[in-house]
Amino acid sequence: MSRQFKAKVISNTRLNDGVFLLVLRPLSETFTPYPGQFYMIGQSGATLKDPLLKRPFSCMDYKDGLLYLLIKVRGKLTAILRDYTAGNVLELIGPLGNGFPAVGSNERLIVAAGGIGIASVLMLMKAYPQAVLFYGVRSDSDLFVDILPKRAEVYITSDDGTVGLKGSVLQMLKQYLSSATDDVKLYACGPHTMTEQLCRMFSERGRRCRVSSETSMDVLPKIDAYVSIEERMACGVATCLGCTVDTVNGYRLVCKDGPVFNVNDVILPQT
């Protein structure tokens, strides 16, 4: 059993213009991934060198020995993967990273996903069927509900109002939480701006600094919040030291110490 393996494409389904669902069958025995973990993925065969490095993708699901990836076209590799068809072979390293920490029995799990971030929280939703999901998308066509567990409690927002409530998923989440009473464990994954806002809203510091601010959450019971952070990666296994994130404990590596971090730990870059 090795963390480095090849996998064959079983199917590739275009979900919208830019997003596709890739189902892979590992060609050798692999480790079972935890929710929040990821794989480094690259083309097979080292003869072509552009793109060169593997790229990180969350494990969206793992069942019956098949690996499910939800991928959005962003650049070189994702554009190539979009055109992959059954039979193409990929190289993977993983599962990697720490994933989401376990939810305590006395805690209520709330999940927030923005856009393609849904890929990284689905396994969690399946592991905790009572979890509530806040799912924000840009528009109707970016919403992928078919992949969600059937019985899940889901609140949807969209930027343009074409589906669910129009507006920010975090605003809706805040409203929901303002009426919550029990301890909450919050897991979130989404674009950089969402992660950032979330850290501001839910970190101790955030709360201290912004008691009066609109986005702070100073009225609530205990909220233990975690975010999945994206950073450029070369190795995925803590050897290149490329995927640094600044934390209250100094620089940490997204690939090894993350990708999931407690919002209290993360120091976001000033912009």
Binding site: S2, L52, L53, I93, R232, T239, L241, T244, G250
Partner: protein, 303 residues
């Protein structure tokens, strides 16, 4: 068939190492491959005190290459010797420690500390990182300063001393001659070329450090050229060739150009098995070419 090579008094079971900064402290890859199969491991650059490195973002992929501005983040020599070395020593491979300092005194102190530790087989003096503060690059680009730092380090260590040269120079042969003259037992080349990339959407550099080191297949032609120039001018100093090696074919190019051994860098990220595949591929090439000693390839280019 013989794959064993000698460099600076070291005997490597095969001529394939992993390059500094691309293989961590070795242990990170122990799960994926048997470290004892490697000719040597060159660990991430160490300094006397732990170093934080540069702020993120630190890496950016370029056509057939990558830029990095890690900035020599490391746990420090003391922590390495205490926490990593005892574990690394358990593998049947040579441990070469890449190290650097901010001042000549730093270099000397680091060399001294490393020489006192047991289980280190050689030192690789890094004077060629493009990610340090302004002025630092003089160690790798100013012949007089290079001579000084190599000479001072030479005095405090009896370990084999490898000097890693910077490619960002007008005359690589001169730098090689200076390093050899000041006491280097072997030379590593090349380190990364200084490069830069800009995000045209934000107008910001892709790396927070603005410039970084370019590595990967893109730089291989420059690396092979420099290696060949140095070998031709100084045939008696052993060379460790690196820069863009992805396959056994690439490695053999370096051997033919005059390298006694090679190191795999960026390719480890792409495929952690690269070093093993390269060893195997060299073996197959020797069989195919009816050469029974890998040393028979060294400097074999016909020109």
């Amino acid at each position: 068939m013989n794959l064993e090579v000698s460099i600076a008094g070291l005997r490597l079971k095969n001529p394939v190492m992993t390059a500094s900064g691309t293989f961590g402290y070795g242990l990170e890859y122990a799960e994926l491959l048997d470290l004892s199969d490697l000719g040597a491991i060159i660990v991430k650059g160490l300094s006397v005190k732990p170093a934080k490195g540069n702020p993120p973002p630190r890496i950016w992929e370029t056509p057939c290459g990558m830029l990095n501005s890690i900035g020599l983040q490391n746990i420090g020599i003391t922590a390495f010797v205490q926490d990593k070395l005892p574990l690394l020593r358990q593998y049947d491979t040579l441990i070469i420690v890449n190290f650097f300092g901010d001042t000549i005194d730093d270099f000397v102190q680091g060399a001294g500390m490393l020489s006192d530790a047991s289980g280190i087989h050689a030192l690789e003096l890094n004077v060629s990182c493009p990610n340090k503060q302004a002025g630092w690059s003089a160690f790798g680009t100013n012949p007089a300063i290079l001579a000084e730092v190599v000479g001072q380090v030479r005095k405090v260590t009896t370990l084999p001393l490898i000097v890693k040269l910077s490619p960002n120079v007008t005359d690589i042969v001169e730098m090689a001659r200076v390093a050899a003259g000041a006491g280097a037992d072997a030379l590593s080349l090349i380190n990364t070329l200084t490069g830069m990339a800009i995000d045209i959407e934000t107008k910001q550099p892709r790396l927070s450090n603005v410039v970084g080191g370019l590595s990967g297949p893109a730089i291989k032609p420059v690396a092979v050229r420099m290696l060949w120039q140095v070998h031709r001018a100084l045939p008696s100093i052993p060379l460790i060739g690196m820069g863009g090696i992805m396959t056994a074919e690439d490695a053999i190019e370096f051997l033919l150009a005059g390298a006694s051994a090679v190191a795999i860098g960026t390719a480890n990220f792409v495929d952690p098995q690269t070093a093993l595949k390269v060893i195997h591929g060299i073996e197959q090439y020797l069989v195919r070419k009816h050469v029974d000693d890998v040393n028979g390839l060294v400097g074999g280019v016909i020109c």
